[in-house]
């Protein structure tokens, strides 16, 4: 008797284990949401997927019980964008400083001649500087919206920061469409100078003539680096602009998903845009002697033109022999 009663529980356990493993195997084949034994769980599983629902107050996100994309958006915005973007910008600034310390300013090789050649018309300069101003406003206010909570609140406190950000948000939302318009006007004004040509390859091969002691590449009015920046402005500007307009005008019944996706694209591209813009700002100020005067006063010294844009200089010279007073006007 004693042996039998000992064996029996073991046999039962083995049978139970076999049955459980069969059940487990059967359950693993079941499709999620089709648990016939528990229809209530199936119901809520489907709801968790975000099925549309009826409500008698259908405004402002009430036509679904649970929207799942919100948590994803939160993780992407707070995790990916807010944590990584400051390092991208800091790395770009460090890289720029290192480039300045190692390579230094691209100076004029010959003394200035005093002969001035017009490089940018008044219209071009006005458009450039108004777009630049709008860009800086957008970058500062936009980065404040993304990073201010982590960077500025510890310094200024909640009250001051909230007051500033209230204004920053309004500024950001009104300047945004203006910046988009500026970028599109720039595109119209300058696209004919920025079509890629064969000589642009030469510029990339010799690193724009800034690094190393090789001969400077032949360059027309716009060099390959400037062309690259032009096209980046157009691509980044359109992406940031279109998503920005979607975020700025919540009057076309955009879904929350549209807003979340727009925000992610907007923020990611904007951070890259700001990062690349440092390169342009560097080249236009510290990086190259005489570059800032070109856009500020509109004209450049003939020596600068010959050194940095030789083909354009020759073209200008040919024009001025046809019309002797052209360069003075």
């Amino acid at each position: 008797m004693t042996t039998k009663s000992r064996i029996l529980p073991i046999r039962r356990l083995v049978i139970l284990a076999v049955l459980l493993s069969l059940l487990g195997g059967a359950m693993s084949f079941q499709v999620i949401g089709s648990d016939l034994e528990n229809p209530r769980a199936n119901f809520w599983r489907v709801v968790r997927e975000g099925v549309p629902a009826y409500t008698s107050t259908p405004d402002q996100g009430h036509t679904v019980l649970i929207q799942n994309s919100g948590e994803n958006w939160r993780e992407i915005r707070n995790g990916l964008i807010a944590r990584i973007s400051p390092w991208i910008i800091i790395l770009a600034l460090i890289g720029m400083a290192a480039f300045y310390l190692i390579v230094g300013q691209d100076k004029l090789e010959k003394p200035r001649s005093g002969v001035m050649i017009e490089r940018f018309t008044y219209r071009e300069r006005f458009l450039h500087w108004s777009t630049a101003l709008l860009f800086i406003v957008m970058a500062v206010t936009g980065l404040s919206l993304l990073l201010g909570r982590f960077v500025l609140i510890p310094i200024f406190g909640h009250w001051l920061f909230s007051g500033y950000l209230q204004g920053a948000k309004v500024l950001h939302n009104y300047c945004g469409p203006l910046l988009l318009a500026g970028i599109l006007l720039e595109f119209v004004l300058w696209v004919r100078f920025n079509i890629p040509r064969k000589i642009d390859l030469q510029w990339f091969k010799s690193m724009g003539g800034m690094i190393g002691s090789g001969p400077r590449p032949h360059i027309g009015r716009v060099n390959a680096g400037e062309k690259g920046w032009f096209w980046l402005i157009f691509i980044f500007g359109s992406a940031v602009g279109i998503t920005g307009v979607l975020l700025d005008f919540p009057i076309w019944e955009q879904t929350r998903l549209t807003m979340q996706v727009s925000h992610v694209v907007h923020a990611v591209v904007a951070v890259l845009f700001v990062t690349v813009s440092f390169g342009h700002i560097y080249m236009g100020t510290l990086g190259m002697e005489g570059a800032f005067e070109a856009m500020w006063s509109g004209s450049v010294d003939a020596v600068w033109a010959k050194q940095n844009h030789d083909l354009w200089y020759q073209e200008k010279m040919r024009e001025s022999t046809v019309k002797p007073d052209a360069e003075m006007s």
Partner: protein, 202 residues
Amino acid sequence: MARMKFLCDTERCIECNACVTACNNEHDVPWGINRRHVVTLKDGESGEKSVSVACMHCTDAPCAAVCPVDCFYTTPDGIVLHDKDLCIGCGYCFYACPFGAPQFPEQNWFAARGKMDKCTFCAGGPGPDNSVEEYKKYGRNRIAEGKLPLCAEMCATKALLAGDGNVVSDIYIQRITKRGGRPQTWGWETAYNFKSGKGENP
């Protein structure tokens, strides 16, 4: 300290929207804002379920996590509140919230939304309790008066429960123990007797 929670019993909610009306009236919220709403799933089909939803006062609240001005705070009772004086109306809390709780008085050009408004668990906001200013911004502070949220207090079928999470779950456990573990033994299908073939399928 109690951890305040809402619970809506979907077997009891009859989608009368009285919680919504009571909330709008108690807090005198602007027209167009509904701090609470009733969602009906499978509307008009067999197995229809209604749920009354407002801010769920999450422990790890997504709205608070994404707020650029950090205007949210959690009371010792676990109620998630926000400071309208800090709010800039960016709408991020609305993008993040799973339940559509944050509401805005307007949706206008240049993303003008006004200050965000949401369920306060009838606990007002920052500043002196039951002041005129608090009432104008956040509605009545019933918690400071020793009362629980009005939506649940006046729910006719007692579907919506609000209060100390332990008490709320005790009540709910009693209910489901009485009902039994499987929906086959109670509710719609038992009442209308579909399975026996005697009842009519709507």
